[in-house]
Every structure is written in structure tokens, then in C-alpha cells.
């Protein structure tokens, strides 16, 4: 009886155990499945350059082999919208792992306000390694000695010129001095029966989005030895264009627009005009090479370094994420800097990678237009925008002033009026710096 009872109890117990085991297994399998699903990570890339989207997708494809669960979402929008997205996104909180592409000059205010974290040690060591990056790029991605971002690419300017138009005008070499730029522009301009230009000799940035006008002005100003802002001994900044260099630069714009009429604000401009044969030469960054390859592959053109030096605007990648998400995001950032990916970037997008020690010859040998960007004279100088909070405001307001000046024909032959204009604009720049406590002595 007892045995029977024991046997019955044992059977019931066994049954319960089997049921529990089955339930446990099912629950375990469910949990495991859940864990597998949870291990699938999504990294979102915020880019301000739509042409960079294929690059990030290419990097993501490469990572698939190593990490099949990694899902990379690229959100590339126009630069100004991208900047707004970052400002609102970082202040209101970003969900998940986000890789943020940002210019070094813009990022400082985010770091100062603890809105972006430092890079992990392994990443920081990679960036600090001299064999990987020039000091210029390392410091651009750092703040107070700590690395926050990984340098990726830079905007650097050079002259693009239509070789057929040069030949037609009897010109065999690119201009080497700023004086020659105007002389060449005059020879290269094509005019209609009414004398108005139909093809501009030199497409100057006279209109368009605000900051770009001031940046392009700064590039030309730099060739004359000036700069929009200069650092002062007390570690601050002041305007540096109400001077001889500023006068020469503005006068050159005005002379081309109003006196020689080699270009007008209404004319098609920039890369688009160059690709359509509506301008003979213009100054722009290396991405135009990729743009020409896709939109005007039969265009005959060459590039040349600028007389004294160029702007160099480094763009870095930063991460906003925590824990495992952060690791996945930094892994993605590091993958963007792998030599194979950087070569792909140069070849297919055209932006110049910042990493040293990578052999880019497979690209530069087949696309000679990159020559001016990588093979520049030894004494070639570079400048960049200062990493200060109000840099965009300084440039946007200067651009508004310049747009008015470019329209003002009465300034063209009046040096006193040009000086007065430059002084007024520089006062406004200094006023912005003073308001932010950044005006140096």
C-alpha cells in the first residue's frame, strides 16, 4: 500500500517534474531567443552630407561579416538641418547608439556642456598615435587634452579649371597669384552680343547660404595674408580683415563683378555651373571630383593648389550612447577609419580622408584631379575655423554684410568706402566676440 502510494506519489512527482522541465525548457528557449534578439544592435549614423550615405553603408556592409547582428541606419540630410537636429537631439536626449558626424569647429560647445562623452581609451590611443593622424587632426578631435572624436575627412579647397576653355583663351597653366586670377577671369569670360557675360571667367561665391559666402571670402583673404579671425596673446580672438588684406580681397570681388564684369550674382555658379560649362574656374573642395565623375564625366578639367594655402575643415565622428550600445557605435567609428574604407571614400565620394600612413595612390593615380589636394607645395599653409561657440554667427553675419557689399557698385573704385565697410563689419564681428567673452586684446 505504502509502496503503491509511494509509487503513485513518485509518478505524480515525476509528472510534475517532467512538466516543470518542459516548461523550463520552453521558457529557457524563449529567453534565449529573446537574448539573441536583444543582441541585435542598431547604430544610427547622423550625417550632414548626403553624399556620405553610401560610404557609411559600405562600412556597415563590411562589418556584417564580423557582427551579423549589427544594424546600421544612415540618416544623411542637408548640413544646416543636420546641425539643427544635433542641437535639438543632444539637448533633449538621444535614444540608442548614435554616431554623429560633426565639424571640429562646431563640436566644442557640445563638449563644454557635457553633451558628448569622451572616446574610450582604445579609441583615444588610436587617435593620439602620431602614425595615424597629424597633430592638427588630433587636436581638432580633442578638448583639453582628451579625445572626444575620431577624425574622418576634411574639406580642403583647390582651384578647378576647364582646360578646354583655358586652351581657347590661350592659357596653358593655372593662375599662380591672386592678380593672375583676375587677369585669367577677364580672358576666360565669354560674352553675348550685349556684352554681358554668358560664361563667367571665375565663379565667385556672391550669393547662396549665409556661412559659405564668408568662408569663401576667408579663403581668398587668406591668399592675401589675412583672416576673418585671428588669435590674440590672451587666448581669445579678434577680427582681422579691416586691413590691407581685407581691402585687396573685397576689391578683387568688386572689380570682377562691377568693373570687369567677369561674373554676376545672377549667373549660374559653383560646381553645377562648372559641370555645365557655364564657368571657366572656381575654388571648391575635393568632393567636386566625385560629383563631376557622376554628373559630367566628359568634362575636361584640372585642379591646382591655391597661391598661398587652403582652408582645412576636419569632420570627425562622435558617439552618443551607453554600455553595449556605445561599444557597437565606437566599433563602427573605428571601422570607418580602416584603410580599405578610407580608400573607398576617396575613390567614390571624393572627400579627403584625414588618416596618414594609408596608401591612396590607387585612387590618386587614376584621378589626377586629386593631385592639387594631396601634392601641394612644401610651404603650403592651412587654416581652419576656430572652435568657438559663435563661429557660425560671426560668419553668417559677415556673409550678410558681404552680400550687400558685393551688390554695391559704388564701392568698387572707392578704397575709403571699402575701408569703412570693412571696419563696420569687423566692429560687428568683435561685438559678437565681446558678448561671448571671447574678444581678445
Amino acid at each position: 500500500m505504502i509502496d503503491a502510494l509511494n509509487s503513485a506519489t513518485t509518478t505524480a512527482l515525476e509528472r510534475r517534474l517532467v512538466r516543470a522541465a518542459l516548461l523550463g525548457s520552453a521558457f529557457g528557449a524563449f529567453m534565449l531567443g529573446g537574448l539573441c534578439a536583444a543582441s541585435a544592435q542598431t547604430v544610427t549614423v547622423w550625417s550632414g552630407y548626403p553624399e556620405m550615405a553610401p560610404f557609411y553603408e559600405h562600412v556597415a556592409q563590411g562589418l556584417k561579416a564580423k557582427n551579423p547582428n549589427l544594424n546600421v541606419k544612415v540618416e544623411a540630410i542637408a548640413l544646416r538641418e543636420h546641425e539643427k537636429r544635433i542641437a535639438l537631439g543632444l539637448t533633449s536626449g538621444v535614444a540608442g547608439a548614435t554616431v554623429i558626424e560633426l565639424q571640429g569647429s562646431t563640436v566644442r560647445r557640445y563638449i563644454e556642456n557635457d553633451l558628448l562623452p569622451k572616446a574610450p581609451d582604445a579609441v583615444a590611443n588610436f587617435v593620439k598615435e602620431k602614425a595615424n593622424f597629424d597633430e592638427f587632426f588630433t587636436s581638432n578631435a580633442s578638448f583639453e587634452g582628451a579625445v572626444y572624436g575620431v577624425p574622418l575627412f576634411r574639406g580642403q579647397a583647390a582651384l578647378y579649371y576647364n582646360t578646354d576653355m583655358f586652351k581657347e583663351a590661350g592659357l596653358s597653366t593655372p593662375p599662380k597669384t591672386m592678380e593672375e586670377y583676375t587677369q585669367y577671369a577677364e580672358k576666360l569670360t565669354k560674352r553675348g552680343a550685349d556684352g554681358n557675360p554668358t560664361v563667367s571667367g571665375w565663379s565667385l561665391r556672391l550669393t547662396g547660404g549665409g556661412q559659405g559666402i564668408a568662408e569663401k571670402f576667408w579663403i581668398n583673404l587668406f591668399q592675401y595674408g589675412g583672416s576673418v579671425l585671428e588669435p590674440t596673446a590672451d587666448g581669445k580672438w579678434r577680427a582681422n580683415y579691416a586691413n590691407e588684406a581685407g581691402r585687396a580681397t573685397l576689391k578683387q570681388y568688386l572689380q570682377n563683378v562691377h568693373v570687369l564684369k567677369t561674373v554676376t550674382p545672377e549667373m549660374p555658379a559653383d560646381a553645377e555651373a562648372f559641370e555645365r560649362g557655364q564657368t571657366a574656374m572656381f575654388i571648391r573642395e575635393s568632393w567636386v571630383i566625385g560629383d563631376i565623375a557622376s554628373k559630367a564625366p566628359n568634362l575636361t578639367y584640372a585642379t591646382a593648389p591655391l597661391p598661398r594655402g587652403s582652408i582645412a575643415l576636419p569632420t570627425n565622428l562622435y558617439v552618443k550612447a551607453e554600455g553595449a550600445d556605445a561599444k557597437a557605435a565606437w566599433d563602427f567609428v573605428m571601422a570607418t577609419n580602416e584603410p580599405e574604407n578610407l580608400t573607398w571614400l576617396l575613390k567614390n565620394v571624393g572627400w579627403l580622408p584625414n588618416r596618414s600612413g594609408v596608401d591612396y595612390s590607387s585612387v590618386t593615380s587614376t584621378s589626377p584631379a586629386f593631385g592639387a589636394f594631396v601634392n601641394y607645395p612644401k610651404d603650403y599653409k592651412f587654416f581652419t575655423l576656430p572652435s568657438i561657440g559663435p563661429i557660425e554667427e560671426v560668419l553668417t553675419r559677415l556673409a550678410a554684410q558681404l552680400t550687400n557689399a558685393f551688390r554695391n557698385a559704388s564701392l568698387a573704385k572707392d578704397d575709403t568706402a571699402i575701408d569703412a565697410f570693412l571696419k563696420s563689419a569687423a566692429d560687428e564681428t568683435n561685438q559678437i566676440l565681446r558678448r561671448e567673452g571671447l574678444l581678445g586684446k
Partner: protein, 288 residues
């Protein structure tokens, strides 16, 4: 009590989406409120003092005022005349067609409409210059000349505002007492006399409503100016700087939300004053 309770949800939503933002904008305007900075100190009226000497704000304010009044001056008389013509002259089935044709621009999406007008005003390829040159006039740089580009925005805004004003006036015409017109006709008043001495005074409340709405929307002009006169490389520059554009730039480009809020307060003040003045003027005229 029941009515108040029934209205409560609507009032709460209104307070949340309308009243609270206005109050908060007033608060922000008195602070150095940077989006990114943790420190947002109270600075009193410093933002307003800076506005007074800001050339971009002055330019934006002037342009916005010119556009708002320009649109008002074009829209009101034109809408009144068109509504009168449609109401009195077109007894046929075509009246509906005219109403629809005039109203369509008001419901067309702003950006595509502005893009179409941008093409019309294009200095090289636009039909406007083609028309001008075909009759012997010199082509003009419509979107590059600062004065002409403001005029272009006025034309575009008036084109869009006209349909709405005409429809409102038509409603007004339909509500006017026919006996007065019959009496005037018997007294030998001509159609223009009936329009001027009967329709115009009787439609004053409609005129008040339409002019307030037109002026307020004129002061809020943004997309039309932005699309017409900016922004891609090689496109016309920001010749038409308007208040809303300046606010947007100060908020999300320069991150100076407090400063932009002080601009918004000035805009609110202007619209409020103009609306009160219009109400007062028309009320006094009504009494007299």
C-alpha cells in the same frame, strides 16, 4: 456650469498649446537662454536693447512690415472688387468656376507654389522676363535686386491671400439685404455708386476680419521668402530677410533662443497693436 465643464477640455488644450507658449516666450526673452548651455541667467531687457542696434533684425523688421502692408494694400481692394464682380456680374454657371479658380492658390501647398513663382521670376529662364523683353523692356534681376525681391514676395503672398479674401467677401455679399440695393436702384444709383455707398460700408466687419487675418499672416511670412530668395549654392542670396527667418536663424543656428524669443515678443506686440488699432478705427467709423 455644464457649458463651462463642456468647454474645459478645449480651454485646457488652448491654454496648453497657445497661452503657455506665449507666456514662456515672454519668460525666455528675459534670459540669456542658449540651447546648449546649462547656465541660462536672467538678463532683464538686455535682449531687447541688443535688438534695437541689430542691423539684421532691423532689416528683417522693415522687410516684414513692407511685405505685410504691401499684401494688405493689394489684397483687400482687389478681393473686394473681384468678389463684387463674381457676385453681381456672373449669374451664370461660371460663377463657381471663378470662385474655385481664385481660391485654388490659397489651398496650394506653399513650397511648390513658391517654386513655381521662383521659375516665373527667374532672370534668365523665367517667363516674366521673356514677356518683358518681347515687348521691348529690359529684363530685370527679380530675385537678386533687394527691392524687386521684396516685391516678388508681396506678389506671391497676395496671390495666395486673394482667394481666401474673395471667398469671405462673397459670403459677406450674400448676406447683404437685397432691399437696400433695390431701393438704391429705384433711386437711380448706378452700379459703381451702389458698390461704393452700400457694399463697402456694409462690408466693413468683413473688411476688418480679412485685413486682420491678412496682416497677421503677412507678418508671419517665412516660407515664401525662404523659397523665393534662398538658399542653395548658386541660388539667390537671402535678399529677403524676414522676422521669422531671423528668429529661426538665431534659435537653431546661433542657439540664442532667448534673443529669438525677444524678437517673437516684438512681433507679437506689433501684431497686437495693429489689430487693436484696426478694430478701434473701424468701430469709430461705424459709430460715426
Amino acid at each position: 456650469m455644464f457649458a463651462l465643464l463642456a468647454l474645459l477640455p478645449t480651454l485646457a488644450i488652448f491654454a496648453f498649446v497657445r497661452i503657455y507658449p506665449i507666456g514662456d516666450t515672454l519668460r525666455l526673452s528675459l534670459h540669456k537662454w542658449d540651447i546648449l548651455s546649462k547656465n541660462k541667467p536672467f538678463i532683464g531687457f538686455a535682449n531687447f536693447e541688443e535688438l534695437a542696434s541689430d542691423p539684421l533684425f532691423r532689416e528683417a523688421l522693415l522687410n516684414t512690415t513692407i511685405i505685410a502692408f504691401g499684401v494688405l494694400l493689394i489684397t483687400i481692394p482687389l478681393a473686394l472688387v473681384l468678389a463684387a464682380l463674381i457676385y453681381h456680374r456672373t449669374r451664370s454657371r461660371l460663377a463657381g468656376f471663378y470662385e474655385a479658380a481664385i481660391f485654388i492658390p490659397h489651398v496650394v501647398s506653399l513650397v511648390p507654389a513658391a517654386m513655381a513663382w521662383k521659375w516665373i521670376f527667374d532672370a534668365r529662364l523665367g517667363p516674366l522676363n521673356a514677356l518683358l523683353t518681347s515687348v521691348g523692356f529690359a529684363p530685370r534681376s527679380w530675385l537678386f535686386d533687394p527691392v524687386l525681391s521684396v516685391l516678388c514676395v508681396i506678389v506671391l503672398c497676395s496671390w495666395q491671400a486673394l482667394g481666401y479674401a474673395v471667398i469671405i467677401y462673397l459670403v459677406g455679399f450674400k448676406s447683404l439685404p437685397t432691399s437696400l440695393y433695390e431701393a438704391a436702384e429705384l433711386d437711380g444709383a448706378s452700379a459703381p455708386q451702389r458698390f461704393w455707398h452700400l457694399s463697402v460700408p456694409l462690408l466693413k466687419p468683413i473688411t476688418l476680419y480679412v485685413s486682420v487675418v491678412t496682416l497677421v499672416s503677412g507678418f508671419n511670412v517665412y516660407a515664401q521668402a525662404f523659397v523665393l530668395a534662398s538658399d542653395a549654392q548658386g541660388a539667390p542670396g537671402r535678399q529677403v530677410r524676414v522676422l521669422v527667418l531671423d528668429m529661426l536663424e538665431n534659435s537653431f543656428r546661433n542657439y540664442r533662443v532667448g534673443y529669438a524669443a525677444s524678437e517673437a515678443v516684438v512681433l507679437l506686440g506689433i501684431v497686437l497693436i495693429l489689430t487693436l488699432v484696426q478694430f478701434r478705427m473701424l468701430r469709430e467709423k461705424g459709430r460715426s
